[in-house]
Subunit: 253 residues, 2 copies
């Protein structure tokens, strides 16, 4: 069984493309936000209840729409649809826009994948570098198929699970816009956004700040990062963890 969610909402082209490929491999449950939830990170809904409803069913795909965040969707689907019994593979995306480098921290797409990892379920987040919601998704679908085949072949099992064998693999996969030369296993590049906000006056003459900003690669020169891979037309695959402890190798217990 495969559980699919995203942060662009259940109607986005990216989740449709991901579902089309995933159903070639297994039965699929789509359990996704009822609208856009970009930039929601690992946010959870604390102060109001959630609802979900069945919105469609075709041969091996069942679709549910949920009022929550991407993280809520994973939690709620696992508890309700899966009843904590079978542990699905969780796929999130295909996000319209990059989640490479520090974008993982803000990403609802990766928030869902990380939530799966926390509760012990293998997961892969897919993002493509085009922000055009009508972009051609066929090249990205080929990459999803390629990565899923590797996953089912066990290629990610031995290398990328944690020292605790019950922590499954969690991959942050980003797909270049345009030519694709191959797939590269890499590290999360250091990066940041600066000058994030643009000041505009609203209709009442009040100051309002719109999030825009400019992205900076703080690991320029390194050739082992996701930003390097993507800049050189490679798909980036970064195995990630939710253990945020800062460690230096020699001191790691």
């Amino acid at each position: 069984m495969i559980l699919i969610t995203n942060d662009d909402g259940i109607s986005a082209n990216g989740i449709k493309a991901l579902t089309e490929v995933a159903r070639e491999f297994d039965q699929v449950i789509v359990f996704a936000p009822d609208g856009p939830r970009s930039g929601m990170s690992n946010a959870i809904t604390c102060n109001k209840p959630l609802k979900y409803e069945l919105v469609g069913k075709l041969s091996n795909v069942t679709l549910y729409s949920c009022t929550g965040t991407p993280t809520d969707c994973v939690k709620l689907a696992v508890q309700t649809v899966f009843k904590n019994a079978e542990r699905p593979l969780v796929l999130s995306g295909i996000n319209h826009g990059s989640n490479a480098s520090i974008n993982i921290v803000y990403s609802g797409t990766m928030g869902a994948a990380l939530e799966a990892n926390i509760i012990g379920i293998p997961s892969i987040g897919f993002s493509m570098l085009s922000n055009d919601v009508n972009a051609d998704l066929e090249p990205a679908k080929d990459i999803v198929r390629f990565i899923l085949q590797k996953y089912y072949d066990g290629e990610y099992d031995s290398y990328y699970t944690d020292t605790n064998s019950d922590v499954p693999v969690c991959l942050n996969v980003n797909i270049p816009d345009g030519e694709i030369k191959g797939v590269m296993l890499c590290n999360q590049a250091r990066g940041k956004w600066s000058e994030d906000f643009e000041l505009r006056k609203n209709a009442n003459g009040e100051d309002e700040y719109w999030l825009l900003g400019e992205f900076h690669n703080l690991d320029e020169g390194r050739t082992d990062t996701d930003l390097y891979a993507l800049a050189n037309n490679y798909v980036s695959v970064v195995p990630v963890t939710t253990d945020m402890t800062l460690r230096f190798c020699p001191e790691r217990k």
Copy 2:
């Protein structure tokens, strides 16, 4: 200069307590959400503009209230009030409730601290284990004072910055409820929430799911974790990173 924010909102007792201690050390700008933003993680506001306003000023404390998330607050304060010039120390909290173990991932308090880290500013997130918003904050204030003194004495400089010297320290500090025996430097314990939702009928007879859940320590037996420290009446201090790449020591580049 010290920038203070939180996720419980500018009126919470925790941020008042933190401000009272911080102003003993330096000039303070409070720039905090105008209401509760718990569970917001590193969420950013993408699809609508933000506003902020000056809400108070006393000797060495200036207070601004903002419509955004904790992460938005750090970004917007640094760009507007600080004009990207002076880099403040960012303090977040004191959160009412634990942000130890995996709670860091969902925490708006730590989201703000991590955002500071991303943009190159040292930061400390403070949380206390009592969820009682009217809890006695005097013991927690003593701990904040103790940690801040250590910070200004440079005790965290040499040990906990990353290999890249321009990545400053980011600490996740959690304070036990009750007796405090000391301060322990530790690792983030593996943990998870399960059975997160409780099903209730709303007034229209519809199913609604409320987030509740039960927390599990997945590192029972380890004595070097934040959960161990807190269970044994020690303050836990975990130096954290936003580099989420999964690495094994021997293979780390």
